[in-house]
């Protein structure tokens, strides 16, 4: 069995009950999050808005497109990620205005600039439903 990154896959196997739709949608190739009536689209999906503390119930479909907001190229990692080294991590600013952390695949680090267009690709990671960025 693949080593789990943190030895604690708990939150992924038993996600917060209120955001279970995220994982259900992801399994159906849909990238979604929640939207606060006061503060707009949230990331990560939450049932309580971290900014205003209000209850959040609305789910929306994200376009999955955006641009590089911040980027790094990782040369040392915990054991679980050593087969991926070196890998690129970015914060992507999606069109909905949210900042999302994920690895960037199918790209050379030198080619990525702040502002380079990217999009979400839904794929499994460590046997679990997940997502990465790829160049748009």
């Amino acid at each position: 069995m693949t080593e789990q990154p943190m030895n604690l896959p708990y939150y992924l196997v038993y996600p917060e009950s209120q955001i279970k739709p995220f994982w259900d949608n992801l399994a159906q190739n849909r990238f979604t999050s929640t939207k606060c009536p006061n503060c707009g689209v949230l990331w990560p999906p939450k049932s309580t808005c971290p900014q205003c503390g209000g209850k959040v119930a609305e789910w929306i479909e994200l376009k999955g497109t955006g641009e590089i907001y911040a980027k790094t190229y990782v040369g040392a990692s915990p054991p679980a990620f050593k087969d991926l080294l070196p890998y690129i991590i970015a914060i992507g600013k999606l069109d909905e205005g949210i900042l999302v952390v994920a690895r960037v695949e199918n790209a050379k680090f030198e080619d990525l600039k702040i502002g380079t267009p990217i999009k979400i690709k839904i794929k499994k990671s460590f046997g679990l439903d997940s997502y990465v960025f790829i160049p748009a």
Binding site: P5, M6, N7, L8, Y11, L12, P15, W43, P44, P50, Q51, Y69, A70, K71, T72, Y73, V74, G75, A76, S77, P78, P79, A80, F81, K82, L84, P86, Y87, I89, A90, I91, I98, L99, V100, V101, A102, R103, F109, I114, S125, F126, S130, V132
Partner: protein, 389 residues
């Protein structure tokens, strides 16, 4: 609220300490702190705060506050283990400050401790990854250096800073740490040492990063009015601030390059002290990575936003400069035993204000500031200390 003063501080040797246990490390710094006072002993302690982030992961021992009480032979009436990841030390000191200020206790011991070298370094890094958001960051391969590397990439884009300028922070802190007898790395380095060291997370190389360390630090607090009974040169705690963004991960930070939690924590501390950044004679800041010290100098108001790189180039942040930053060597050179770091910052400022720092002494220092952070800079603790008149 009554005024509070520090009357004793103590540190262990930092670095690899395979010669002692976690409990012995706690005792070692506490004994130095008691020796630093005039006659206070462990039996006099009414409040105990143990700053420790991850004794469970690093040493397989939970419940370190009880461990400390047993090793020190005390049964304080006010006590807690404080876990705030890398800001545990600052948070514990703030709790001890409140315990004295509120009148609940007449003496408090803050013991910061972490023993991290028991485990291989990849495992140590994995443990530190637990501080991040497991689901939305760590699972994607995020590590502590990569979080600050993302911040660095954003700073480079918004304001501009070179890897050479970041390296100068490490060079300065090693230069200072070489003069600190307890520092983990007592050797000077060059810009080339940093630039040629292995890449950890671009643009941060190994020498941009603080190390894995064992170590402990202690501070003893009493009401300021009684402080002279216990030390000829008490140091008053005149400002205390703490603030966190509503965010475990970096996605919800208001800005990656202006740390809202630090600005707020610093404002609270300056306001309590009725002082301004220009009144600070020196600073101990949380240079877990070189980019962190750069942003901290700006957000503490020690220079203007975006002018951190000029501060670095000017050398005004060196001992003898306008505002010496991290005369102890900082986390970079002195080491970063996570729970001990924030307490050691208090110890350094205290000794500096008493004029006891020998070759790394900041001449004439009367007022100093500490800043301790956790997470990807989402949580900050700031203290302002001043030599008692």
């Amino acid at each position: 609220m009554r005024p509070v003063a520090v009357v004793g501080v103590g540190l262990t040797q930092w670095g690899k300490r395979n010669d002692v246990s976690l409990g012995e490390l706690i005792v070692e710094s506490a004994e130095h702190a008691f020796e630093d006072t005039k006659g206070l002993a462990s039996k006099d302690i009414e409040a105990l705060y143990v700053a420790n982030a991850q004794s469970e992961r690093f040493t397989e021992q939970a419940h370190p506050a009880n461990l400390a009480a047993e090793f020190l032979g005390i049964s304080p009436k006010v006590t807690s283990r404080i876990e705030m990841a890398c800001a545990s030390g600052g948070a514990a000191f703030r709790n001890a400050f409140f315990a004295i200020a509120s009148g609940q206790a007449n003496s408090a011991l803050v013991s910061g401790v972490e023993k991290m070298c028991n485990v291989p370094s990849p495992e140590a890094m994995r443990n530190l990854c637990l501080v991040e958001d497991l689901t939305w960051e760590s699972f994607h391969g995020m590590i502590p250096p990569s979080g600050f590397a993302l911040i660095a990439s954003r700073y480079m884009h918004e304001y501009g800073v070179t890897q050479e300028q970041l390296a100068k922070i490490a060079v300065k802190n090693h230069k200072n740490g070489a003069k600190n007898p307890i520092a983990q790395f007592r050797k000077e380095i060059t810009i080339e040492t940093v630039l040629e060291s292995p890449m950890i997370a671009h643009p941060l190389n190994l020498y941009d990063c603080s190390p894995i360390s064992d170590g402990s630090a202690a501070a003893i607090l009493v009401p300021a009015k009684e402080a002279r009974k216990y030390n000829d040169t008490p140091v008053d705690v005149i400002g205390s601030g703490q603030f966190m963004e509503p965010s475990l991960n970096c996605s919800n930070m208001q800005s990656l390059t202006t740390w809202r939690a630090l600005v707020n924590a610093a404002n609270n501390a300056y306001s309590m002290a009725k002082l301004k950044p220009k009144d600070m004679d020196l600073a101990e800041t949380h240079d877990c990575f070189t980019i962190a010290e750069l942003i901290e100098c700006e957000d503490l108001g020690l220079c203007k936003k975006g002018e951190g790189p000029q501060l670095i180039d000017s050398g005004e942040n060196e001992i003898g400069g306008r505002i010496p930053v991290n005369p102890s060597g900082g986390l970079k050179s002195k080491g970063h035993p996570v729970g001990a770091t924030g307490v050691a910052q208090i110890a350094e400022i205290t000794e500096q204000l008493r004029g006891e720092c020998g070759p790394r002494q900041v001449d004439g220092a009367i007022t100093g500031i500490t800043q301790n952070l956790s997470g990807f800079a989402t949580h900050h603790v700031v203290h302002i200390l001043r030599r008692q008149n």
